[in-house]
Symmetry: C6
Subunit: 79 residues, 6 copies
Amino acid sequence: MSEQIQLIPGNSLITETPEEGRLLAVKMARLNIKFTQPDAAVRERLRPIYAEDAAMLIAIGQVVAIEFATIAAANDYWN
Amino acid sequence: MSEQIQLIPGNSLITETPEEGRLLAVKMARLNIKFTQPDAAVRERLRPIYAEDAAMLIAIGQVVAIEFATIAAANDYWN
Amino acid sequence: MSEQIQLIPGNSLITETPEEGRLLAVKMARLNIKFTQPDAAVRERLRPIYAEDAAMLIAIGQVVAIEFATIAAANDYWN
Amino acid sequence: MSEQIQLIPGNSLITETPEEGRLLAVKMARLNIKFTQPDAAVRERLRPIYAEDAAMLIAIGQVVAIEFATIAAANDYWN
Amino acid sequence: MSEQIQLIPGNSLITETPEEGRLLAVKMARLNIKFTQPDAAVRERLRPIYAEDAAMLIAIGQVVAIEFATIAAANDYWN
Amino acid sequence: MSEQIQLIPGNSLITETPEEGRLLAVKMARLNIKFTQPDAAVRERLRPIYAEDAAMLIAIGQVVAIEFATIAAANDYWN
């Protein structure tokens, strides 16, 4: 597995807004999968599988929710 | 995947009441799925699948519970 | 999906006791499922499925545990 | 579903030791399942199913871990 | 189910190092399964099933991660 | 199961940057699986199974997200 993929864009959990924090959560979740499966061809083959499977879409939603919880805490909930 | 979908309505985690916070949790969970699967026709096709499947309804409940935990902390539990 | 269902009874996470907090966690988990599947007939049809399936009972237990974590924090663990 | 089952023994999250806190976590997880499935005969029928299924034993472990996290926080980690 | 199994070795969440805390997390996860399934013969029969199943190994990893989060907080992250 | 595998590289949760913290989360998740399944040949056999299975890649992502939450808190979110 490649160790060269950047896992956290900008190397920071701090964002200006909740919306940007949510986008970061999505990106971190995706980069994590890229890190485990660095072969773009395999990932492309898997995309229609999870994107049209209700259970997997829900599972992706759960991962993003967990990533977002960390990012939100890092930003003191943008208060 | 479209980057134009708004992920957090109002770009804020702050709500006036717990009930509004819970609604925000539901919306954030749904917008996240929309972001991963932007094709409305596919989402419509998936709706009866998860809405009539006990295991998926429970899984959706778990995602909303996690989103709500973050929103509740952001609002200092509305205390 | 109906937006009229109340998601948090009493619109508050504060309860007098841990036992009441646990009941609120159960109710919030159930109302969430009701919100996603507002058709009572479908929910009635699903009930014997999850109530007699060990894996689903465990999954419901996990959702309630997550809801309860938030409620317990909101009540400062009733200390 | 019966509303008479006690969900939290002693109506408190406070225990003298971590070991007792862990036992409370196990009990809370079990009482939650009892609440959803109050029929003892059904629960007895399900017991050998989950107790001899590796995936379900792991899932039960996850629920207890989440309950315990809340109880540990309530007890300030017994420090 | 036996109530005599010790669930937390040493009856404490405090460890000297993160490594020891991680080992405690693993042990707590295993003792929890032992508590639910006290029959050693059944557990031995299940071991090759989960140890050679990718999905179950990942699920075990998730339980340990949750236990470790609690232990790390109890030790103030060994700071 | 071998007790000699190091579970936390460097025996510390502290890292200089979020990126390094994320890498630590990935390593901790992997070492945990190595601890449960110390046979390298079995792990090699499982790798193509999970690396080409969308649901398992998502599940791995969830474990890393949970490990990272703990590491991020340990580092005060690198603030």
